[in-house]
């Protein structure tokens, strides 16, 4: 009982009655005859950490820049907290942005950079400096307040940029690839730092990233973009488990796509006839008709490999291991089906197996019907 209420409280997008905090309607941006952002509709709720995920050049930054007011939409509207933003210039918007290049003022100290927004509001300098000191403590930079940006490391600069964007406690913080310039280890640490700060301050975040792991770790919801359009919006789990299209499935994590036709769509079983993997049993999905062309999306970790023949499994194949990569926590395989089709499979190395499955072995590969997601586009 409490469980369901809690879920409703923290996930307003599941509640049809909830009022969105940011409402984007039919938003487009064209540069000449090139459409960078194509009729985007998006609702974002207060306190969310929303990720815009997509390959480089798909229009993420342009969308963000329209929210901040740096680009004028060709069409469509942006409403923030009930206020239409069409005629509001950037310096009057209740948003702040953390730039991909950080855009720190090179002639000002860290302290001055962070205080900039407060001083523009006309706050007294003494009060502003007090707030700056607090903010610098939050991002763990108190000891570097008097440095200039060019005397800082990449990670430190990133935190100055974050502090500067947060100091005015904006209703909405826009972050353009905030961790893009950091190395892998620092990026992972900083992801959790970002979540901590977001939860401490309760500000709504929109984060742009091209890194799917980052999006999965950070966000409450993800909007997947492709060529200027939002192709799917959902919680990380939804996006991963029930991708809407082949493109999304392929972009988020790795996936095997097998083309086939619907053969039997009756009862609680559904069978897809494929050229490459024979008949495949999948969990049923509504709205499919016999003979329709579909694609089966099968995640590598859902394929089980074993030397002995497993009992009672629906989708079972005798396969040859073509390739194997040992990555410590898991091993990834490329296996060849009798049809010649290569599939990716991975096995987590939960035990210290003395004799793992290796190259050129003939083994059994199997997967559950519910591991398959049937896609129509």
């Amino acid at each position: 009982m409490t469980d369901t209420r809690l879920a409703a409280d923290t996930r307003p997008w599941r509640d049809a009655q909830a009022r969105p905090f940011i409402s984007i309607r039919g938003l487009s941006k064209r540069f000449g005859d090139f459409t960078a952002v194509d009729t985007v509709d998006l609702d974002i709720y207060r306190g969310e950490l929303f990720c815009l995920l997509g390959a480089s050049g798909c229009g993420k930054s342009t969308l963000l820049r329209m929210l901040a007011g740096f680009e004028k939409p060709s069409e469509g509207t942006v409403t923030i907290d009930g206020q239409d933003m069409s005629s509001v210039p950037p310096h009057r918007r209740p948003t702040n942005m953390m730039f991909q290049s950080y855009a720190l003022f090179p002639h000002m100290t860290v302290e001055r950079n962070v205080a900039y927004g407060l001083l523009r509001e006309g706050m007294r300098k003494a009060d502003a400096m007090e707030r700056v000191a607090e903010m610098l403590k939050l991002v763990k930079l108190g000891h570097l307040a008097r440095r200039k940006p060019d005397q800082l490391s990449g990670g430190q600069r990133q935190r100055v940029a974050l502090a500067r964007a947060l100091i005015k406690q904006p209703k909405l913080l826009l972050l353009d690839e905030p961790l893009g310039a950091l190395d892998k280890k620092l990026r992972e640490e900083t992801q959790f730092e970002l979540i901590r700060i977001q939860e401490t301050l309760g500000v709504t975040f929109i984060v742009v990233t091209h890194d799917q792991d980052e999006a999965m770790t950070l966000s409450t919801r993800i909007g997947v973009m492709s060529e200027g359009e939002i192709v799917q919006i959902g919680e990380p789990r939804e996006i991963y488990e029930t991708p809407a299209t082949r493109h999304v499935a392929d972009f988020i994590g790795s996936v095997n796509l097998i083309e086939g036709r619907v053969d039997v769509a009756a009862g609680d079983q559904m069978r897809i006839d494929t050229r490459e993997a024979g008949p495949v049993l999948v969990s049923p999905r509504a709205g499919l008709s016999r003979g329709q062309t579909v694609w089966i999306a099968l995640r590598p970790e859902r394929i089980a490999l074993s030397r002995s023949k497993p009992e009672g499994t629906a989708n079972l194949h005798r396969v040859t291991v073509e390739d194997m990569g040992y990555m410590g926590y898991l091993s990834s395989y490329r296996i060849r089906l009798p049809s010649g089709r290569l599939l990716r499979a991975s096995q987590s190395n939960r035990l210290r197996d003395e004799d793992p499955i290796s190259w050129d072995e003939e083994v059994w590969a199997s997967w559950q019907p519910m591991a398959c997601r049937v896609l129509t586009e």
């Binding site: 901040a68 310096h91 702040n96 855009a103 002639h107 900039y116 927004g117 200039k148 500067r164």
Partner: protein, 324 residues
């Protein structure tokens, strides 16, 4: 000969070259030189030949006495009858400069005219440089060409052209009279104002170019960041653009101020009898009075007047970390 070069021979060739290079390096090292020193040596030599040597020649003349001779100044030393060597050097010329109000006034008025001209060149040049730097690409190049265009015609001709504008029946007076703004023509020619106009006009590209070079590097995202944090366009200009363009402002001002102090042609053509500038004093001393020692000391003092503020500015810039 085989078609493919023998790799062994090739490696041997490389080895020999390496040895040869080693020998050159060793030779240089024996002379106390490295490749780096050699690279620096060229501009150093240039400075030595074309700046330091003339400077010492001038310095030496400034310590001499004027004489009717060829060249018209006393030798640095002479041999007395008993064979002792006497060095003849005195600071009399410098004392003379200090004592005579003419020179002091000429310096002060040169600096004054150069200063006001520089300020006006900055006030006019900054918006132009800003506009050019912010223009989109094809237009920017055209505008930049227009800024440099005047250099294609003779400087003398262009200053002459200003006489046409400024004289009694010139374009400015006739236009103003025609519009009924004034009844009697303004006296523009042969005034300090005319000299200032001439200097601002002539040196404007030298102000615009360094400013342009600075402003074109300005990162748009800094301006966006400033707007994002609540600064309007004017505040953004004052708190971001202007401070970041200080190196460009200083470079431009130096390029105008320094040559303007010693300017000779413009005051000679556009100035009047009461426009006192050190360039003219210098000319008169050299060629009218043929007093080379005094002329030389005038030049040396001017050099120090110009160099001292530059050195001070440089160290100020270094201290503020603005020098790029």
């Amino acid at each position: 000969m085989s078609a493919r070069p023998d790799p062994g021979a090739d490696a041997a060739g490389l080895g020999a070259r390496a040895v040869r290079r080693g020998r050159t390096a060793r030779l240089l090292a024996a002379l106390g030189l490295s490749g780096r020193t050699l690279v620096i040596a060229v501009p150093m030599l240039w400075l030595l030949v074309f700046f330091l040597v003339p400077f010492f020649v001038l310095g030496r003349i400034s310590l001499a006495e004027v004489m009717i001779a060829r060249p018209p100044y006393s030798p640095l030393w002479d041999r007395a009858a008993d064979g002792t060597l006497n060095i003849i050097a005195s600071l009399d010329n410098y004392r003379f400069l200090l004592a005579d109000a003419l020179y002091r006034n000429a310096y002060l008025s040169s600096i004054g005219i150069a200063f006001t001209s520089t300020v006006f060149a900055l006030l006019i040049g900054y918006p132009i440089a800003y506009y050019v730097a912010r223009s989109p690409e094809p237009r920017r190049t055209i505008l930049l060409l227009l800024v440099i265009l005047p250099f294609w015609t003779s400087f003398l001709l262009r200053v002459y052209a200003w006489i046409g504008f400024l004289q009694r029946e010139g374009l400015i007076n006739s236009t103003l009279m025609m519009l009924g703004v004034i009844d009697t023509p303004l006296v523009l020619m042969q005034t300090t104002l005319a000299v200032q106009i001439g200097i601002v006009y002539t040196y404007l590209p030298f102000m615009i170019l360094p400013l342009y070079a600075n402003l074109v590097k300005l990162d748009d995202q800094l301006l966006e960041a400033s707007a994002d944090l609540g600064a309007g366009p004017v505040t953004t200009f004052l708190t971001v653009t202007l401070p970041l363009s200080v190196p460009g402002i200083i470079a431009g001002c130096m390029l105008v101020f320094i040559p303007a102090i010693g300017e000779y042609v413009i005051p000679a053509l556009l100035g009047g009898p009461d426009t006192l500038m050190i360039g003219r004093v210098l000319w008169d001393e050299f060629f009218s009075s043929r007093d080379w020692p005094v002329a030389a000391s005038v030049a040396i003092v001017m050099l120090f007047l110009v160099v001292a503020p530059i050195m001070w500015l440089q160290s100020w810039l270094d201290r503020r970390g603005l020098n790029q």
